[in-house]
């Protein structure tokens, strides 16, 4: 009798909760905190900016297309220096156990969110450590001259120099908008440290509870300006192991899981309970020669070596099929990707002949293999071994070297570096500038430009594209830049990964985010 009562109570409890639609996401780790400007890991963005916050401009979910967010529209001055944002009216912040907003979103919130990162004298600047690495990494302190409130619903950004990707930068997670009223309330109460752990935003979900390494619970924001989310509750079940995530997905203990094991992909394809979504990632994996050191300062030698690499074999062995051969330095999901460029195809005989023609005999070199797994290179050691074997076929003796990850990143920057480096990049804002200027621009030599390659025709094109605001003109310039890149071959472009996302069949409306994140607005359960 007692057992029956317990069962009945459990069913009643389930019945009440079953009315509310709860989506469970088996996330891979814990967020570091809930303020996207301070805590910048991808796992953290999933838990913070993508659910809780909005930005002035945003990426349409599942694309790199920029759409209005908290700004309804914006104007750019003809010299590209002044950006005026017209803010959306009637946007409500979340009501939480710590805070009930007394007003709607306005220009004060925009000023607070940027000045906290921008101004070292801002009262919140040093709260939670004061390391705004994306804001700094995107050169915002040098770029922004001032930010002004024109009126309650108009904000003006003045720049020191024109920057065509500015709107894309403002759509990035670090530019999420916080409540100035909430910040003030926490300051008055002397609990400023809690501001970054108990977030208040305008986004589709509000945080209800978080237990570190266990779960995060969200509730749909009933007054979300784009309309309430289709699901009522969202739970992140933190599950670090990929095989266990798949078991949970199969058992119905979660609906969506990130980062499946490549070995499980085949089983997922045939699993009747699972839909396996896939899309090319916004990344590129490459082998960067050192263009400052002979014989790699000769483009013909670089192109000859490129022809020695069997990229298809790398896709099969290293990516286990979850990758696509890269020919350009930007992935095909980015606008201005040049379909017309021709890759240096695999041809060992032609490679050997080209090396002979350049007088390169008995070349010995180093290949640097990263010690970590990255989306653009799941196994750098294996990749290096395959390239080593390919090079041996054309008479080049390669030695594989590796260092601890931090050291690897540091040493690979050196302009007198010995050898070619395996590395890669994942895009931040969907703008070609974020790949071409960061990784191949002259400013990056000795830094993020691992090829140490500074080529004036290429540099002129990307510098011009930075200041032109006409998208068609920018596209043309970047397409041209990719042609220059292929002629010069500072890298062997190896692969773009393919991202797999297993979801349960009952989940509808889920779109793969090209930036690698997970957004649950627009997702429903059948």
């Amino acid at each position: 009798m007692k057992a029956r009562l317990v069962a009945a109570a459990a069913i009643a409890l389930f019945a009440t909760t079953a009315q509310a639609k709860t989506l469970i996401f088996c996330s891979e780790g814990s967020p570091e905190g809930f303020t996207p400007s301070l805590y910048t890991a991808g796992t953290t963005f999933d838990a913070s900016s993508r659910q809780i916050y909005n930005r002035l401009a945003e990426f349409e979910i599942g694309t790199t297309k920029i759409i209005p967010g908290l700004a309804e529209s914006w104007d750019v001055s003809s010299d590209g220096l002044v950006y005026t944002f017209n803010l959306r009216k009637g946007v409500k912040f979340h009501s939480t156990k710590n805070f009930t907003p007394s007003r709607d979103f306005n220009a004060d919130d925009v000023l607070f969110s940027f000045e906290r990162q921008f101004s070292k004298s801002h009262p919140y600047h040093m709260v939670s450590g004061g390391a705004y690495e994306y804001f700094n990494g995107m050169s915002m302190p040098d770029l922004i001259k001032k930010i002004e409130k024109v009126d309650d619903f108009t904000v003006r950004f003045t720049l020191n120099r024109p920057e065509a990707p500015m709107i894309a930068n403002l759509a990035m997670d670090f530019a999420s908008i916080h409540s100035a009223e909430y910040a003030e309330k926490m300051a008055t109460a002397g609990t400023m440290d809690d501001f970054d752990q108990n977030p208040v935003g305008t986004g589709p979900f509000k945080l209800v509870a978080y237990q570190k390494d266990a779960f995060i619970r969200y509730q749909a924001h009933p007054e979300y300006f784009r309309g309430k989310a289709a699901i009522d509750d969202l739970v992140f079940a933190i599950t670090p192991d990929a095989s266990v995530r798949y078991q949970k997905l199969k058992a119905g203990e979660c609906h969506v899981m990130p980062y499946p094991n490549p070995a499980d992909i085949e089983a997922m394809r045939t699993d009747p309970k699972v839909n396996l979504l896939s899309q090319e990632g916004l990344n590129v994996g490459y082998l960067a020669y050192n263009a400052k050191m002979a014989p790699f300062d000769n483009p013909k030698v670089r192109k000859a070596l490129n022809m020695a690499i069997n990229k298809e074999a790398i896709i099969d062995a290293v990516f286990q099929g979850a990758g696509k051969v890269a020919k350009n330095p930007i992935p095909p999901t980015i606008w201005s990707y040049n379909e017309a460029t021709k890759d240096d195809g695999y041809d060992p005989a032609a490679s050997r002949a080209a090396l002979d023609a350049e007088g390169v005999k008995g070349l010995k070199m180093k290949i640097w293999a990263m010690p970590v797994q990255r989306p653009y290179n799941p196994n750098a050691r294996r990749m290096a071994e395959l390239i080593q074997a390919d090079f041996a076929k054309v008479g080049v003796e390669a030695e594989i070297v590796s260092y601890e990850w931090g050291e690897y990143l540091k040493r690979s920057k050196a302009t007198d570096r010995d050898g070619a480096v395996l590395l890669g990049w994942t895009g931040d804002n969907g703008d070609p500038d974020n790949f071409l200027a960061v990784l191949l621009g002259c400013d990056g030599v000795g830094g993020s430009n691992r090829a140490q390659w500074c080529h004036k025709p290429f540099e002129d094109l990307i510098q011009k594209a930075k200041v032109v605001s006409d998208p068609a003109e920018r596209t043309r310039l970047y397409e041209q830049a990719q042609i220059e890149f292929k002629k010069q071959a500072p890298w062997a472009t190896i692969a773009h990964s393919v991202v797999f996302k297993p979801i349960r069949k009952e989940v509808t409306g889920f779109k793969i985010d090209p930036f690698g994140g997970h957004s649950f607005y627009g997702v429903d359960l059948k």
Partner: protein, 336 residues
């Protein structure tokens, strides 16, 4: 007894100082630094690097950093994580109950099965039961935790659907933690079915974590019992005509327990090491997974604070084991 306790406590002080030096030095001896890891492929400019070093306090000489760590420690402050910006003590204590709960249940499981299995195997030496217990314990001891955990999940959660895959409780139940121990909190919550859910979530991880200690305890109990059973006083007890249960249970087992308790004490370290893998597989929010994450991010304050706390706990448990010897065998406390 008081003197015995004082001697043991006095020995702990130099050990503790040694541990502070070791935990401070360990993470700094590893190659790589937290700022470079945080910046990733993007990199960081030398000026920004200097700024960040100043913010994190890494610009000071090492000895000064160590003295600062020691000074804060005396005030009960383990510092602030450079990743989450939260106090390390808070981060540790927030996760520690989960590890304790899992470890206690795992050791109860290991003792409850390992001790009687070892005793019976010793009493029936050479029997099929003895060979089976020893064979199983050797297999259990050699079992890689990661593989064993996944195997149990696939069998019991995937195929048989008897237990949940991972986590501490079903997401149907939600309540604020009071003690941090899910078994207790689920009872306190008053939510029907919550306790059952918590128990069902605990079974597989406790079995996985308890497997190696179980194997060790069973083997150790057997060999100690065999040794004691051949002693003269046991033969005398048997000759007196005492019932076999009394001979084994009172005369033999009590003496055999000394080594068994030592082994159980040593298993605390094994449990904490095993917890790292078990917690990762079963998404158990304890300190093992937290330490691994902190090490890979080179989160100096979290690693040094966490190591210090874990080492202190192992020292305290060993002290308690020493005191337990005294209770089991009064001769030891007199010697002490």
């Amino acid at each position: 007894m008081f003197r015995f306790l004082l001697t043991k406590l006095a020995m702990i002080i130099p050990t503790f100082i040694g541990v502070t030096i070791a935990s401070f030095a360990f993470i700094r001896l590893l190659p790589g630094d937290p700022i470079l890891l945080m910046a990733g492929e993007r990199g960081v400019t030398p000026e920004r690097r200097e700024e960040l070093e100043a913010i994190m306090g890494f610009d000071r000489p090492l000895w000064e950093q160590y003295l600062g760590f020691l000074g804060d420690l005396l005030q009960g402050d383990l510092g602030v994580s450079i990743v989450t910006k939260q106090p390390v003590l808070e981060e540790f204590l927030g996760r520690f109950p989960a590890t304790v709960e899992l470890s206690v249940i795992a050791i109860i499981f290991a003792v409850a099965i390992g001790l009687p299995a070892g005793v019976i195997a010793a009493v029936r030496r050479g029997s099929i039961f003895d060979h089976t217990v020893m064979g199983c314990s050797l297999t259990g001891y050699s079992m890689p935790i990661f593989w064993w955990g996944l195997l149990l999940i696939i069998l019991f959660s995937g195929i048989l659907e008897w237990t949940p895959v991972s986590g501490r409780i079903s997401f149907l139940y939600f309540f604020e933690p009071v003690t941090g121990f899910m078994l207790i909190d689920s009872l306190l919550s008053g939510q029907s079915g919550a306790f059952k859910s918590a128990v069902s979530h605990l079974i597989l991880p406790a079995v996985v974590l308890g497997t190696i200690p179980l194997a060790v305890i069973a083997r150790q109990t057997r060999s100690s019992m065999l040794e004691v059973l051949s002693e003269d006083y046991v033969r005398t007890a048997r000759a007196k005509g005492l019932p076999p249960i009394r001979v084994v249970g009172v005369h033999a087992l009590r003496n055999a327990l000394i080594t068994v308790v030592t082994v159980i004490g040593l298993q605390v370290g094994v449990l904490l090491a095993g917890a790292i893998l078990t917690e990762t597989i079963f998404a158990w929010p304890g300190i093992g997974k937290w330490m691994i994450d902190s090490i890979s991010r080179r989160d100096y304050p979290s690693v040094q604070g966490g190591l210090l706390m874990i080492a202190s706990i192992v020292m305290i448990v060993n002290l308690l084991v020493d005191l337990t010897y005294g209770l089991i065998n009064p001769a030891i406390r007199h010697e002490g």
